[in-house]
Symmetry: C2
């Protein structure tokens, strides 16, 4: 069994919670996730157990699995590598675009305004800048959503439901290289497609960075805000 096959198995088991405790594993599901046959999966598991990387516990007919300390070493090593080698930000380019005034609407609601102020540490200029990111960055945006920090999980007011909002700290840079601190918002109930990113800042970005619809901007979005 190759080392990268072991790692694939350990990662698959980690997804199911086996790094923390003895966990029931749906082998059909795991085989599908790993894209291997049931036969191969069983062989991998047997070998991982023999190598002391995985423990098995029988619970009636079910089998529970847990990654051993030795197995965790492999994963911690990988985690360290990724932490050391991957940048802690994602950068993407896009064009300033007219929005649906959604951001401005949300920021006109005192509850949101206050929560934004508290979370961001600055009083946001009332109104968001909408950036239409290039198509190739859309999958990256999905990653961002996994890292977003919550501002609110939503609330009810006058029997109206207001959805959750999250954010990540960012910098926005115009085509002459001038930059401003800002944040990107993740609005749960947005009507925008995934190619639109809403940016808030303490200042009017259109004025400060001399932006018009169609201006190209670069966003540097930090994953650990």
């Amino acid at each position: 069994m190759k080392n990268y096959e072991i790692k694939a198995l350990l990662i698959g088991l980690t997804k199911l919670g086996c790094s923390r405790k003895y966990t029931r594993v749906n082998k059909a599901e795991l085989a599908l996730d790993l894209d291997v046959s049931a036969w191969t999966l069983n062989r991998w598991i047997r070998e991982a157990i023999n190598r002391g990387l995985v423990n098995i516990l029988k619970d009636g007919r079910a089998s529970l699995y847990k990654i051993t300390e030795r197995g965790l070493i492999e994963l911690l090593d990988l985690k360290k590598l990724l932490e050391d080698q991957l940048e802690d930000f994602i950068s993407m380019k896009g064009l300033v675009t007219k929005g649906l005034s959604e951001g401005a609407y949300y920021m006109s609601i005192p509850e949101y305004e206050e929560m934004l102020h508290k979370a961001l540490g600055f009083k946001p200029y009332p109104g968001t800048l909408n950036v239409k990111i290039l198509e190739k960055y859309v999958p990256l945006r999905r990653i961002l959503e996994k890292y977003e920090k919550p501002i609110t999980t939503g609330f009810k007011k006058n029997s109206k439901e207001f959805g959750g909002v999250g954010f990540l700290r960012a910098e926005i840079i115009n085509d002459s290289g001038r930059k401003e601190t800002c944040a990107v918002l993740f609005i749960e109930k947005t009507k925008h497609g995934p190619d639109i990113i809403e940016v808030v800042a303490p200042v009017n970005l259109r004025e400060k960075l001399n932006l018009k619809d169609g201006s190209e901007v670069k966003l540097i979005i930090y994953l650990s805000s």
Copy 2:
């Protein structure tokens, strides 16, 4: 090409620096690291390029490789999984053991004492507690060394060389469950084997936790001090 093979390739390239910039890749070395044939490696690379996960740049006869944004997505996803699922500490058991008085010696050197105090945030009791960890934890200790925070990279005094020291925050728990805050030291020029962990604390741990040589203790060592 299986998804986990792609991931193995991306991880291998990451080790070589290809997540940050176009980097020359020694294919023989990479094939060895991945434990695949040169032929398989070339097939993997070709497919990764076709899938838009890796870019290639010809520089005379050499080829430089860089992981694309799409490739980084895969790795960021994996990093997030490991960050979410792996505990941020390692726990290990061991037995209190008589040391070589190395720790006490180092702590008698004013420079070390001062640097320890500054790094740890507490004035360490003069003398370390030596814990002999069980054999199965020794590989875990190697992982710890990757996470250690530097206290000093070493210095010269009276033409004598003093080696580097690092630390990680920890808790030590005795067999009745009583615990104390402490730190584990990583002493560059130690004469101890990798099975001995030196623990410093603001208090006399032997007294406070009622420890004798041979007493069993548990160490909880935090990876992000």
